[in-house]
Each structure stands twice: as C-alpha cells, then as structure tokens.
Symmetry: C2
Subunit: 275 residues, 2 copies
C-alpha cells in the first residue's frame, strides 16, 4: 500500500480538490487505498505474473453477484499483437499497448444458456433488458474489486469504456461466443512514475449524497463550485479543461458516442435480444 | 478489519469452497477484506452515523467514473416508514427494515441534463442505451467501493437488486426526477452475530478467467464441480439448494423476473428513452 498520504483529512480534501477537510470518522489501510485511486495512463513494461492475476481474480470473484448467478467472465490479454489490435479498436489508447495486460470484463449469460441447453429447458429471462443490466452490473462489481486489489499491490489501472466502440470486432478478436459481451476493459500494470498520475477531484459530496429523498436544489451551485476546483486542478497541469464543457460535449451528440449509439444492434448480434 | 482468517491460503480456499489452496502470491489487509466479503441478511439496530456515511460516500466517489461524468447519485434512507415501504416494494426483504440505513444507488443523468438545459444546448447522447449502461456502471463502481469501505469498518452489507422490481413506486417514494433511475439498493448496518453469515464459494477460477481468447470448453465440468462444492456448503446449513437449479429457475421465465421484464418501459417513463 502506498503510504503517501500525510493525513486522512488531507486525503479526503484532495479527493474533493478542497483546501481543507474535517478528519474522517474512521480510517484504515483499506480506506486509504480507496481514496488514493488515480487512473494511470503511462506504464512500465514489467509483467503482471499469473500468480498476481489469480489474486486479482479471486478478489473479483469475492464481489457480490446478483442471485449468485456470477454472470461475468474476464479475458486476460497479454499477447502484444492482440493488445495492439484491441488498442486500435478501443480509441487507439497507447496505454493499452504499454501495459503488460488488458483485462476485458464481459457480461456472460453463455454459462447459464449452456446449462439450460444441456437440460433442455427454456431460459426466457435471459432475453430481457433487465438480464443485460444484471450481467453488466456483475461484471462491474467484479472489475472494481480487481481494481482495489491491484492498487493495494501498488499496481496502476485504468478502465477502457471504449472497448464498446467496436464490440463486434472485439468479440471476434476474443472469440466471445453468443451470450458474452465486452463490458469494459481494464489496463493493469506498473505505473510509470514520470506520469505523476494525480487523484482527480470529484463533485462536492452534497451533489451526490441525498437524504431520504432526492434533492435537486443546489445542483447548479455544486457544479459551479466543482468547475472552479477542477479548473484549478487542471491548471496545475497546464490543461485548460472545463468540466461542464466536457460533460456537455461527451453527451451532446450521437457522434460523440464514437459508435456506441449502435450498442443495441451489437448486443442483439451477440445474443442479447434485450426484450 | 476482521482478523478472523487463519491464513491467506485458507481465505482463498474458503472463497472457492475448496479443501485446500496454494498460498496467494501476495496478501495485505485490503485483499483480506475483499476475500472475506459475505452478504449479511440479519442486522442489529445500531445506527450508522452521518460521519461514517460520509466516509463511505467519499470512498464511493473515489471510484473510477466514465469520462469523469459522475453519472450517479445515492439516496440514504433511514426513516423507518420509508424503509418499510421500500422493503415492501423490493421483495419484502426484512433486513431492509432491520438495518439502520438503505442506500439507493441511482443512475443519474439529470445533473448533465440540467447543465445542458441551463446552456440551452442539446444532450442527444444521453438518450441512448449506451448512456444508461454508462450511468448504471458508474453507480455500480461507486456502490462497490462503499461496500469495501463498509466492510473494512466491520459493517455488513447486502445488495438489493429487487429495488428494480417496482421502479416507478421507488422513484415516487424517493422523489427521483426524470433522468434518475434506481439501479441497486444497499443495506448497511451492524451484522447480527447470530446469523453467522458465511463466505459463499464461487465458481472455480478457470470458469471465469480466460487467457487471450474465451475458452468455452470445460464449462460443464466447472459447473459440475461447483455444484458439488456449493451443495456441500449449503448442506452445512441444512439447505438443499442446487446452484444449477437456482440459475435455471432465476433466468428460466418471465415470471421469475418479478416485474423486471418491464424495465424498458419503466426506464422510458423515468426519462431514459434508450434509443
């Protein structure tokens, strides 16, 4: 674990890009690792051995799963050419090439479909939109446990949502059978210290935590406060980004989805009819 | 943190319901907490103070989020009558009533929609199926960090997928505006030690971890091996469950979805057209 943080209050303040914070009610090595998360986009080539991968996956399997369905699988890609091909398909992100392994987390209803076929029984529930969310959520919970496990070992990670830009080609590259769909990629490796990846500040807690009922009041104020804090964060790195502009651009148009506007047809082709 | 485990190899073996396991390549308090996860379904009434809740949510906000959209919110419900009402709506699960707080994790595109409305710009990307997955995944990653944080503090948790059984009524109870949808509930509280919640074994790791490409061979054998291990686990508790039967029942029919077959129309009504 990192041992970088000077104090728990400092760690929480940094997470919010705030000048100061009250001392959190509790602190321990787990909370430290969680709060210290940063996305790493520059890697050293040092391998992630199979034995380490196995610990990440047993941590992933320890995550909760809806009705114990375990409706996910993960494909570990280390082959240089396959990794390069997936990098091309997923927004040409160079860190996929740099890092020793790309984990592709998949929604997996093929296992259940196989069991149903063997018994000759229907599996009508699997055809619904709901079951795709179940499988996507199962994959996400497992992947996030793997992230926490990796970071506890000093490894860096970054999710690759762009694995959904070209899902048909990704499915072909990974030989995913019907019923299996790529949800998210996860790069894992040793952080290149020259990147100096930072903890990115988040929205004020009041913006996301509601008590008893959803409180829409104040959202403009929270966004404005965050805009200022994040501009300060980016200015330190000579980046001129506005959070609000980025959100509005990212969700503003069909084109900004980079192919993902066709997700429904890609899911159907891969055996998810989404009734 | 728990300090229950006699050895890392024992913790990993228990996760797989195996008689023995090799020593994992690495171990630390974070890996211990992750592997020790169990769903808790009996709670003591001890409150979860606001200060503790704030740490759980700052841990949740520390999770990765797609393009830093932070497309989620959480509603903390402590009111006894509201909690009882939500318990009724979510499969009548008594642990929702017992525990001091139910966290309802939501997919939240309302924040982005509000910013777009203020600027008078379109937000066409938010209308797509893809953006619902982005928001569901964001909510899942945040929720899972909160689970890990809670368990590191000795608290128990259990997810409530049944919060999606009656999403219109849940949205009304929590005053969720258009663009906000309940993804999953999370009960948090002090475990009642009389329950003696156990670590539930998972599928053999070979069933979920694939190398380079998806390997469909062996899935029947892994499921059979798991069926035996899980039967052994359940037998200890005088429960006759078969994993395969449970999977086939859970996904076998429209009726088994308990209302969730109508998710598409509920999402549309709540401002998610899923283009």
């Amino acid at each position: 674990m990192t041992g970088i943080v000077s104090s728990p209050a400092r760690a929480v303040a940094r997470r919010y890009g705030a000048a100061e914070s009250v001392e959190p009610a509790a602190w321990n090595p787990v909370l430290e690792v969680l709060h210290e998360h940063r996305s790493v986009r520059r890697y050293r080539p040092d391998p992630v051995p199979d034995a380490v991968l196995r610990v990440l996956v047993s941590a992933a399997q320890s995550a909760p799963t809806s009705s114990n369905l375990q409706a996910w699988s993960v494909v570990a890609v280390r082959n240089t050419r396959r990794k390069a091909r997936l990098a091309e398909l997923a927004g040409d992100q160079d860190h996929i090439r740099q890092a020793p392994v790309l984990l592709v987390w998949t929604a997996d209803l093929a296992r259940a479909r196989g069991l149903a076929a063997e018994r000759g029984v229907p599996l009508d529930g699997a055809d619904y939109l709901e079951s795709s969310y179940v499988a996507f959520l199962d994959a996400a919970l497992a992947a996030q446990n793997a992230v926490v496990a990796a970071e506890s070992l000093g490894l860096g990670t970054v999710y690759i949502g762009a694995i959904r830009n070209n899902p048909a080609e990704v499915a072909a590259e990974l030989a995913l059978p019907p019923g299996v769909f790529p949800v998210v990629g996860l790069v894992v490796g040793t952080p290149d210290p020259t990147e100096d990846a930072r903890v990115k500040p988040r929205l004020p807690q009041e913006a996301v935590l509601h008590h008893e009922t959803y409180d829409a009041a104040g959202q403009t104020e929270y966004a404005t406060r965050y805009e200022t804090r994040l501009a300060h964060f980016y200015a330190d790195q000579n980046l001129p980004h506005s959070w609000i502009d980025r959100v509005l651009t990212r969700l503003g148009s069909t084109a900004a989805l980079k192919g993902r506007h066709r997700l429904r047809e890609h899911l159907a082709a891969q055996g998810f009819p989404l009734r």
